[in-house]
């Protein structure tokens, strides 16, 4: 080994040692920095306002879709929005959740209300605490709520009525009467629901005479679905549809997602396809598949994106300007076999 080589060798070993020491220090520093971050969420943006959304069946794709849209709008306005039932280890009723929300210091509540007095009282109490309440999908017009966001029930009823007429024309019913059953909530005093029934009835009644003669007369009844607990809906609908085949209604009208899926599943399970025509509600994947397979005749979908957006905007408008509109009407679209393909494409993207 020449002295020159030796010198280079020394420098080389010295460099490697330095590199190793540097690497160690970098590793440890990174590690410490990482462990400092540990346990602290990086999202610590403070929000201007805190809204909560309260619905029954918050896991249904309808409400998830509404929530997604509302959340998007809220975040773009620097508001915090959450579905409080998601975070709690116990399942509370809408009323209990309303109670919790009204004392947990939120700025606004978006609630799928009903016409019960209890709900009215809860909304009024929250409003008294300085919390603004927006009802969504189902209204409680007798309360002090700020706004209602949803479909026009009259329009909805009209759409169902037209679908019933269309069905009567397409299918050659040979029974004495065309029995139409509308599944309704058993919650009391729902003015919106009543308005819709009226609209259905009016639309059917307004059928021109020359068309009315081509089919048996309609017999429209309302069946109250038991909504007392989470699983009662499905049981109730199943019980209704498990009659002998002769007494099955020709047409059933479902006014929410759960009812539609329950009816669809029962008809498929008990081989009643073709005997019962289902008019559904909402455009979840299951329902769209039902249409695609000719089990569900048609479904009416509310624009969930609009509903979510409008509900948050209503609250924000109020906080910004001190007032806002009392009604926000979202669009309605009818999905049948003819146009189901385009919705299915959209839906797979969302889910």
């Amino acid at each position: 080994m020449t002295p020159k080589n030796r010198k280079y060798n020394s420098i080389f070993i010295g460099l490697i040692t330095l590199v190793i020491v540097a690497l160690t220090i970098v590793l440890v520093i990174n590690f410490i920095r990482y462990s400092r971050r540990f346990g602290i969420s990086n999202d610590d943006t403070a929000y201007d306002r805190y809204y909560v959304m309260i619905t029954d069946n918050s896991n249904s794709s309808f409400w998830q879709s509404v929530y997604r849209s509302a959340l998007e709008t809220a975040e773009s306005n620097n508001d915090c929005l959450e579905m409080i039932s998601d975070n709690l280890s116990r399942d509370y009723s809408v009323y209990e959740l309303m109670e919790i929300a009204s004392i947990s210091g939120v700025d606004g509540i978006i609630v799928n209300a009903d016409y019960s007095e209890e709900m009215t009282e809860l909304i009024d109490r929250a409003t008294a605490n300085g919390i603004q309440v927006v009802t969504i999908y189902n209204d409680n017009s007798s309360s002090e709520r700020l706004s209602y966001v949803g479909m026009s029930n009259y329009n909805l009823g009209k759409q169902y009525g037209e679908l019933i007429l269309k069905l009567a024309q397409e299918k050659n019913f040979t029974t004495d009467t065309i029995e139409v059953v509308i599944f309704a909530d058993t919650k009391p005093g729902d003015a919106g629901q009543n308005l819709m029934f009226t609209a259905v009835q009016e639309t059917v009644d307004a059928e021109p005479d020359e068309m009315r003669e081509t089919h048996p007369p309609f017999d429209i009844t309302i069946y109250g679905v038991d909504t007392t607990n989470e699983f009662s809906v499905e049981e109730s609908i199943k019980t209704f549809l498990l009659k002998d085949r002769e007494s099955l209604p020709e047409i059933v009208v479902c006014l929410n997602e759960m009812d539609t899926i329950a009816a669809y599943q029962t008809v498929v399970d008990y081989n009643e396809v073709g005997l019962v025509n289902i008019l559904g509600y909402y455009d979840s994947e299951v329902i769209l598949n039902g249409i695609d397979r000719n089990v569900i005749y048609a479904t009416i979908s509310a624009d969930t994106e609009q509903m979510g957006r409008y509900s948050v905007n209503a609250l924000d408008e109020y906080f910004r300007y001190g007032y806002t509109s009392q009604y926000f009407t979202s669009d309605i679209s009818v999905i049948t076999k003819d146009n189901v393909a385009q919705y299915m494409g959209e839906d797979t993207d969302e889910n």
């Binding site: 190793i20 440890v28 462990s35 346990g39 929000y47 805190y50 280890s89």
Partner: protein, 496 residues
Amino acid sequence: MRTRFRNMSLQIKLTSISLVANLFVFFINIVLLAGINIMSRRIDTVYQANLQLNELSVSLNQVQDSMTEYLNAKTSDSLENYYRSTQVYSEQAEELSQVVTGRLLDRMEYSIRNMSEAYLNEVAQTIEAKRGRNVEKYRSHYEEATKLYGYISTYIYSLNNEQFKENSENYREMVSAFKTFEQGGNLILIAVIIVNALLILRLTANLISPLKTLAGRADEVGKGNFDLEPLPEMSRDEVGVVTGAFNQMVISIQDYIRQVRESAETERKLKEKELMMEAHLKDAQLKYLQAQINPHFLFNTLNAGAQLAMMEGADRTYEYVQVMAEFFRYNVKKGSKTVTIGEEIELVDNYIYILNVRFSGDILYEKEIDSSLMNVKMPSMILQPIVENCVNHGIRDMMGEGRIKMKVYRQDDKACISIEDNGIGMSQEMIDGLLNGTPIAGTKKESNGIGMDNVIARLKLFVGDDDVIHIESEGEGKGSKFIMYLSTDSRETADV
């Protein structure tokens, strides 16, 4: 630093090398361990939040219990308990988050904080109503408070769960980070070990390399090569000491060898001088002997004898004395000079004449001479001794007529001289002895004292060839023959 390191002893050097290597590993280890330590402390602090929530839950229970107890028993103890627990609870609730952030846990804390306020308010009203004995009112407030208590409990429970979930998530990440850290640490440790090995290799090579060169040198010295440059002394450790001693040893050996060589040289010179002294002595002795015979006196004496014989009319005596004078003069004059073949033959003629006078014509002498070769050079005193040898050993003791035949002839480019007698002959042993110059038992030195071995040696020296003389004899009683081969070139050189 470097020189100081060089001057340390081997033991200290090796110890310090291993110390440095170990310190390096130790340092890296300490740093890695420190990282792990900090990490595990972080885990502790994270679970602290759960602990706090549990405390909050306990306080909440105490508030509720003390309220219930007061409602049941209305003791001052329970009231005191109530005040104390409310104090504790509200203090703890104060620590909860006051802002709504993107973090769910913060929002839940915010909700609990607000709900706690409502709850404590409700509890206070309950106690107030109880004090005022308003049964209806305190019952409804109690129910409300209990409901809120339930909500808050659920919230705390849920928050705890969420926190635990997040902690578990974090813990998993932490574990994976730990793993990464461990791998990184292991890699670094492996690198450190490799570098350490290199370091030790390098440092020990530094220690060993002078030892290696020293071993190489020692090996060379062992093989007998002492002519070496002294090794440089790199360090002052044991190896350095040994190197110095080795250098000293090599120098000493070189010195010793020189001394031995010098003494051998002087001895050789002394011997040479002694030999020369001896030669000179011999020379002096010879000169002394030669000086005793005064040639002028001898010749003058012989000439006087010759003149006397002429005056007395004794012609044969005159001639005899004249030839004898001639014979002796040749001996003195040409004793050590190069002569021609002609001059040598003339000497032989004179010698035979003298012998024939002495022994009254016993020897028959024949000549067959190529006269063109008479000027070829040769050493003096060659032919006469050979003829003398033939006479003395060949024909003197034989019965009948002795005969000597001399021939000079050309063979190839050589001048050949052959002398032949018909005497008793020679055995092969005798011939070999003569040619190799070993003395032969029973031969006597006579006449001019020039022996055959001297003759042959001089001939060989003159010609520069061992194959200059041949001796032939066909056996006992069949005579012998001497043949000499001389280069004719020597005539030319002699002419110049």
